[in-house]
Amino acid sequence: MTATKKLNLKQKYQYLTRDMDWEPSYQKKSDIFPQEDFEGIKIVDWDGWEDPFRLTMDAYWKYQAEKEKKLYAIFDAFAQNNGHQNISDGRYVNSLKLFLSGVSPLEYAAFQGYAKVGRQFSGAGARVACQMQAIDELRHSQTQQHAMSHYNKHFNGLHDAPLMHDRVWFLSVPKSFFDDARSAGPFEFLTAISFSFEYVLTNLLFVPFMSGAAYNGDMATVTFGFSAQSDEARHMTLGLEIIKFLLEQHEDNVPIVQKWIDKWFWRGFRLLSLVSMMMDYMLPNKVMSWQEAWEVYYEQSGGALFKDLERYGIRPPKYQDVANAAKEHISHQLWSTFYQYGQATNFHTWIPKKEELDWLAEKYPNSFDKYYRPRFEHWDALQKKGERFYNPTLPQLCQVCQVPVLFTETDDPTAFSHRDTVYKEERYHFCSEACCEIFDNEPEKYIQAWLPVHQIYQGNCGGPDLPSVLSDYYHFNLGEDNLDFSGSPDEKRWNEIKGIKPLDKDDVA
């Protein structure tokens, strides 16, 4: 007779991911999992797949339920106590508008992506991991919308985020990132999202930015951010395990995976330039600069990671040095661009205050005063004369990352980085060598890119002029959601909350 003994963690995980699986008897495995081979990845033994957290379904539901209870208690408290009145500055909310329309829909895209690829693996461990992650990502999308629904009652620009995500020009940057990953094969999707994005890069979004939300008095956002991030810790671990699993399975996988890492690191880096701007310009109370965050979360952590992966024959991403060198520039170049196109954004833009310019100069001693401060001071002078600058043209977009061609050459911050190539008698334009190379490797994929500026010019985005595109197709409330923060209804409302009386003519001595 055997005594019943409590199973340990390893045994429980073994039962869930191995013993509940079965071998098909009347269908061929290749018919059941038809996407498993076409990318060229060779899996010799799915039993090599291990989730180091060894999370089983019962534990998963238990801990997730507890996280949700804590999170929603805080949302209630935040709403009941009018938490939006305690944020650092009315301008802060604009980072949430970008987050809700740029990032939250990616959580939903990730949910769809993991639900889809989870069906495609013949290994049960991988299927379970993808299932849990799909549920996590759906939770993130929901909690973010719930958290920000409170802000939607008090501020403009938050009313139609999913539609804007699908249509607005700069939101095609995050949208196309996930669409391009989801339209790849299942192993490439995992390398793109689980490894390159979740493991290598998302810390930059969810750790220093969320810590920044706390520092700006936004209890709701920091709480959903860290609650989501507690799932991300699992996702990141999985991302690393996936890479090691692929590399250990067969040496032929190494060059394929390396190419994917090169590509998706670069795409992720371009996507995160939006976060650089949120950190350096959109958080009124600063925690750390983008450059500092990049040094801790990419150069230091990524350095340790890629050293660890050396033994598999993997080297750091091909264009890593370009990304490292750009850390002193990208946030300033991007904010300058959004400032110019502030008539076409669902959030407000502004010239940083004097002390904020000084902070930027201190954090970016090699670049800010030399290249960027004069530009902001020039625009500020124009604005004070009543000639706030808006750029009336539409920007040229990169065919691959869809960011406007606004970044500069590594060795010359005054020269735009621009590449082009001809494919089937058509010329395509890129923001960088790296994006051009991605295109050259998969031209048939990227010629299909839905580039918002081209679509506007082709007449596929509503009316004939920019205001009708913005109002009819993007659903912006013109004069409320867009333009400078100064003079906006948001500013007026914030001043009312804080009892700040704007100066009028009579107050000027």
């Binding site: 801990y63 996280k67 750790v207 810590s211 350095g303």
Partner: protein, 90 residues
């Protein structure tokens, strides 16, 4: 080259005990306090031990309870009923 593993926790009541336990088990670990979070880093290896946590809390503690408060990690993870270990192996 220095190769740091790290773990970040929400700065809350649970984290206080985690930090105490980690400091005791990893005397070399560096603790960084940032708004709403605590980041702990160490060269190559960091361990959280169930036994130490149970001493600090004076109750049973499941290693997976840390999932509630963790924000991020860097390093290879190895978890069993008694430990949570982060390491770089190369």
């Amino acid at each position: 080259m220095s190769q740091k593993v790290f773990i970040a926790f929400q700065d809350n009541e649970n984290a206080r005990y985690l930090v105490e336990a980690i400091s005791e088990d990893n005397p070399e670990a560096e603790i960084q306090y940032q708004p709403a979070m605590i980041r702990i880093q160490a060269e190559k290896r960091l361990v959280i031990t169930r036994e130490t946590m149970e001493e600090k809390l004076n109750r049973d503690w499941d290693v997976q309870e840390m999932l509630l408060d963790v924000i991020s990690i860097g390093g290879n993870v190895d978890e069993d009923d008694d430990h949570f270990i982060l390491s770089w192996n190369n």
